[in-house]
């Protein structure tokens, strides 16, 4: 028996196969979008992400490096033990320049033992050799142009309309591309779930009108959190905004972070 392959029948078959594939793909994409909005975000019913614009500000002059925010974050979000942090604190010690050196300041010493969760040990230099010393809280920078979202091969990580960058753990394939693409080291691969994880701004809290755990616990009020779309006159965010000139981390990368720092030093990356 000899099968006849006419051009018409072959093209029809090919067209049918492609149409079938495209339909499956379109259906799955639609499902993914719905899933993103309803399932992955732990938002309650009635929360409308388009009506909010979350913003995190850090008044770096106020941080005392107590590490409560790190601990609160770990507990609130069930972050695993070990080198896994959604937020952490860095300590910068900038020594005075060595006598005779033509440098303006010494080489910065930076550390973050256990993410700063239990505070910091004694500085490794005697006090009289230290020019400046300060703490810098770090977290996901909530980029307007997040490189992590750009590179995710399945779209498991996405930017919600309210500015939060979230991950759908049921969808993440654990390739680690987003972790490599994050310039701020804010992501990690959860050793238990084998999926990428990061700060969500405590999405389950902020969508219910609460503040993120780190903001709630900060005794120095170094972290200021609010909703740009619903600012009232004596909102701490409004006051912070009026009072300070702000900076972001690694601005040259064009990521447009939405975590704004006041009082940042040039050594902070």
């Amino acid at each position: 028996m000899k099968t006849q392959f006419s051009r018409r029948s072959s093209l029809l078959r090919l067209g049918g196969a492609i149409a079938g594939l495209l339909t499956i793909s379109a259906v799955r994409t639609a499902k993914a979008v719905v899933q993103k909005v309803f399932v992955s975000t732990s938002a309650p019913k009635g929360y409308d992400p388009t009506k909010h614009k979350w913003l995190m500000c850090i008044d770096d002059n106020k941080c005392i490096g107590c590490g409560l925010c790190v601990e609160a974050c770990k507990r609130e979000n069930g972050v695993p033990e070990g080198p896994y942090f959604r937020t952490w604190i860095e300590r910068y010690i900038i020594p005075k320049p060595k006598p005779g050196s033509d440098r303006t300041r010494g080489e910065a010493l930076v550390d973050s033992p256990n993410g700063g969760m239990h505070g910091f040990p004694e500085p490794p230099l005697p006090k009289d050799q230290i020019e400046h010393a300060f703490f810098v809280p770090k977290l996901c920078n909530l980029c307007e142009n997040p490189p992590c979202v750009q590179v995710c091969p399945v779209g498991a990580t996405f930017r919600a309309p309210d500015g939060a960058v979230l991950i759908d753990p049921k969808y993440c394939i654990g390739c680690g591309f987003c972790i490599q693409a994050c310039p701020y080291g804010s992501r990690f691969l959860n050793p238990v779930t084998k999926t990428a994880e990061k700060c969500t701004l405590c999405y389950h809290r902020i969508t219910r009108g609460l503040k993120p755990a780190c903001v709630e616990i900060c005794p120095a009020e170094a972290r200021i959190f609010g909703d740009l779309n619903n600012l009232h006159a004596d909102d701490p965010l409004q006051k912070f905004y009026e009072k300070n000139r702000v900076q972001v981390l690694k601005p040259y990368l064009g990521t447009e972070p939405r975590v704004l720092y006041a009082g940042l030093d040039k050594e902070v990356r």
Binding site: S25, A32, P83, N114, C172, C175, C182, G185
Partner: protein, 411 residues
Amino acid sequence: MITEVTNIVVEVLPQFEGYVFPNEAIAQPLWSTLIVVYPYITGLVAGAFIMASLVRVFNVKALEPVYRLSMLTALAFLLCATLPLLCHLGHPERCYEIMMTPHMTSPMAIFGFVYAWYLMAVLLLELWFDFRQDFVKWSKVTSGFRGIIYRALTLGVTDVSEQSVRLDMKMEWILSIVGIPSAFLLHGYVGFIFGSIKANPWWGNVLMPIMFILSAIVSGIALCVFNYIVLTWIRRKTVDMRCLDTMAMFLFYALVVDAVIEGLDVFHRGYAAEEGFAVLQTMIREKLFYTLNIGQVGIGTLLPLLMLGSLQLLRRRVPEAIRRTMIFCSGAMILLGVLAMRWNVVMGGQFFSKSLRGVMSYKMEFAGQEGWLISAVILCLPFIILTVLVKLFLSEQLQPSEHEPQNKSTT
């Protein structure tokens, strides 16, 4: 409590020097040997295919004896190209999502399509058109399981009239032409996966896809040289020196271009000396000293350049046996050198912190998901597949049909 915790952290730290972000202080780099093997295998595919295209598209007749071997090499390696990625995923069972719900801005998602296109539309089709009339012929003379395989592979198209064979060859020629940009795309995209990461100064580089393509061509030709010599040695046949010399010539020129572009990259980094240059210097001088300076530059580039270059100049005066040995050694060294290059790119990008204040050391594990054993197995697998393919399709008992050079009809 505080001192205790600090001490614990200090105990973990010896593999890190300077400051690394807390999330980076994991025992193993996120991407390790498996991700080193992945671009290596993909590069070998693209290179072997481009080498085969020299015969079909550019009509380099001297390379005809290695055409089918190169195509089968490309296929054997392509079949294994996604394995390292798959083994590396945290959730391999969700891998189909890359194809079903691809995120179009991700280089990794697009790679899935480029891979599928290359495997299905280019390589398998081209091989099928090339082998079809042989399948028909062989299915008639062989019996048993082998006969069934050949018969199945004809896909029911048993017409071997002159007209249909001419159509086969025309299709093959078209596919070869489509295949060259596809091969560039396949491996260029792998380069882009790294080159697009602006967060990492070691990776984020416009030259990265170009360096990947060039080193792929070099490694692919080297692999064909290696396979050809090993195959003739196993079969106790004589090497076609005209073919081998031509391969050596292409290998040499490809290596020159590759070395120049990689040199340009290093020169530019040094001259521009942007933020993070100090930490990159530490990498070259300490962390990657052996794999970069000795592996990639010395064994992988300079020595083969010297050997192949001198052969270009003194070909007639060097006896065949020595020439063969020199070309074989160059091929083997280039294969090692390109593997070292992949290592330097992939691991180099993770040996320093994105804070640009610290570097980390890495001790390879033997077993486990990221151990080198599984990578070694994945690297050996294509050779096993290739052996089967060669036994089936380059069998000594089954003579191929006489092929007309494909572009005779079109030029």
